[in-house]
């Protein structure tokens, strides 16, 4: 049975791959391609965040009783990540390569330190509490992640 840690860690890496294509396109000055890449990344990121916010976190909170704990912090960081994405869209619209690269750098580090905490701490905690439910939870998460096509 696939664990939440494996499933979600794999999706983090998949999002990273899409993220990298934005920078490559901007470096080549191909703004159309960069726009398409940013859209694809936005969809992949949103699918991932919403799988956590609507499925994994609520299940973890009710199983562990930790409502105000780690998931609250992760939700707050999701808000920052969505704002970072908006900043990137804004820079792309203005075709400001410097600004876009600064926003991308910031979002990448924010995203990766967030991922580290999830992969090393929160997901293993989720697996501890939810391993019995994976038969139903697993397919649901997978279909939510797939919605983006990433």
């Amino acid at each position: 049975m696939t664990s939440i840690t494996e499933l979600m860690t794999h999706d983090h890496r998949a999002c990273d791959e899409v993220f990298a294509t934005i920078e490559t396109a901007v470096a080549k000055g191909d703004w159309d391609k960069a726009g398409a890449a940013l859209t694809a990344f936005g969809e992949a990121l949103e699918a991932h965040l919403s799988a956590e916010e609507t499925t994994i976190f609520p299940r973890f909170e009710s199983a562990s009783g930790m409502v105000d704990g780690p998931t609250r912090m992760m939700r707050m960081e999701h808000t920052e990540m969505r704002r970072g994405l908006d900043n990137m869209r804004d820079a792309l619209e203005r075709k400001d390569a410097d600004d876009l690269s600064g926003e991308a750098e910031t979002l990448l580090i924010l995203m990766q330190q967030h991922n580290m905490k999830e992969e090393n701490i929160l997901y293993p905690m989720c697996d501890n509490h939810l391993s019995g439910e994976m038969a139903t939870l697993g397919p649901k998460i997978t279909s939510q992640l797939k919605a983006s096509g990433a």
Binding site: A20, R72, S101, E105
Partner: protein, 421 residues
């Protein structure tokens, strides 16, 4: 998994900006002192055994490197291991004061040489390390081991602890004539510090940092699973061969240690070549310079076993410390400091400028070029061309570290401006 680990994810558990920053801003000052010392006494690169050379080495290793590593640990342990150091701000303040004063006393005691000052250094550094290691142990014991990085972080901390204990013992041999064999213990001190402490810490951090921030495939599972354990065990066997003077076996074990270090370096370079990031960023460049220098340094170590020339040990020191570890640390500092500035602004509810506005690329790139030129000058100076080569290397080193400090201070200025806007 328990509550302590879960709590590590709270904003409350994140250390105040000042906790790591006080270390990061102090470290370059020791680098500047090292540069000035070399500028005044360019003959210090001739042999590793003179009091001045010992002082120079420890300005770089204890003054710069250990200070940066301790500062980073306050930030890294909560994020990668879910292990926030208890009473972070208080512990950071105490450790920082003891270690900084201890580093000054150590360098003075070794360089003058002044045995009484060296004893004071042992007390200060011993106390500073004791506070840090107890706090880190409490933090790490509270969380179970689930991933390679937190486990290897433990190995690295033990390795670093062994290196420091050996160092303190050596200081007591020099200062108080403790009846213990100096040369083998010195060898162990260097081996444990380079590979057991800094090398393993670099490995434990790289398992996570390289794939995530440079967007590469993961390290091979066998490497992350066994490398730290194999390295630690091999270091223990090597230590026995050194203490029992089993010279021929020792060289075989040294080859094994070099091969282990090479496996880490080779895999890291191979992964970086497969990075999805189309433009290698500053950290990646610094990593490449660092890893390349480490390979060259390892070759010098092997040569030093078959040559009586004092050149090889000094050259390996220059390549591994300045070229290897400091390059990697610069790359990491240039990511950590602006990100923390951004993070603390964001947490304070300020709409923070992005990282490249807080820390523009141009001065960072120039400082790293200065660092690379300094390395070249240090190598030339070590080859003993003329005293002027040493002076130039010292001058460049002074500039390099002052520049680093200036770049970090500019990030803090931008942080303050954004915070008060």
């Amino acid at each position: 998994m328990n509550m302590a680990a879960g709590n590590a994810l709270g904003y409350e558990a994140a250390p105040a900006f000042s906790a790591p920053l006080r270390f990061f801003l102090t470290a370059p000052l020791f680098g500047v002192l090292a540069g000035v010392l070399l500028l005044v006494m360019p003959e210090l690169l001739e042999s590793r055994w003179t009091p001045g050379a010992l002082a120079l080495t420890h300005l770089v290793t204890v003054g710069f490197m250990l200070t940066v590593m301790l500062g980073a640990m306050f930030q890294i342990l909560p994020v990668v291991a879910g292990a926030p150091i208890p009473a972070t701000t208080v512990v950071a303040t105490i450790v920082h004061l003891l270690m900084s004063a201890g580093a000054v006393a150590l360098v003075w005691g070794l360089g003058a040489p002044a045995p009484d000052v060296l004893v004071i250094a042992v007390w200060l550094l011993g106390a500073g390390c004791a506070v840090f290691f107890v706090a880190a142990a409490i933090a790490l014991l509270r969380v179970p081991i689930t991933q390679a990085t937190p486990r290897d972080m433990r190995f690295a901390l033990i390795g670093l602890g062994i290196a420091i204990l050996l160092g303190l013992t050596l200081a007591m041999i020099i200062a108080r004539g403790l009846a213990l064999p100096l040369v083998p213990l010195l060898k162990l001190h260097v081996g444990w510090a380079w590979l057991g402490g800094v090398g393993m810490l670099l490995g434990a951090t790289a398992w996570i940092v390289v794939p995530m921030f440079q967007i590469t495939p993961p390290y091979p599972a066998a490497l992350t699973r066994y490398w730290a354990f194999a390295t630690f065990t091999t270091l223990l066997i090597w230590s026995a061969t050194v203490m029992y003077e089993l010279t021929s076996i020792e060289f075989v074990i040294v080859i094994a240690l070099v091969a282990l270090a090479g496996a880490f370096i080779g895999n890291t370079l191979a992964l970086q070549r497969r990075s999805r990031k189309s433009i290698p960023d500053i950290t990646q460049r610094a990593f490449q310079l660092g890893l390349g220098s480490l390979i060259a340094g390892l070759i010098c170590i092997l040569v030093s076993y078959h040559s009586d020339s004092p050149l090889w040990p000094v050259l390996s020191g220059v390549l591994i410390l300045h070229g290897g570890f400091i390059s990697v640390m610069l790359g990491m500092l240039y990511k950590i400091v602006p990100f923390l500035a951004w993070l603390h602004l964001t947490q304070a509810g300020v709409r923070a400028p992005n990282m490249k506005k807080l820390q523009p690329d141009a001065p960072v790139r120039k400082q790293l070029i200065a660092h690379a030129i300094t390395l070249a000058a240090l190598i030339v100076a070590t080859l003993g061309v003329s005293a002027w080569a040493g002076r130039i290397a010292g001058m460049l080193m002074t500039i390099e570290f002052a520049w680093l400090l200036n770049n970090m201070i500019n990030v803090i200025r931008a942080y303050r401006r954004a915070g008060s806007a």
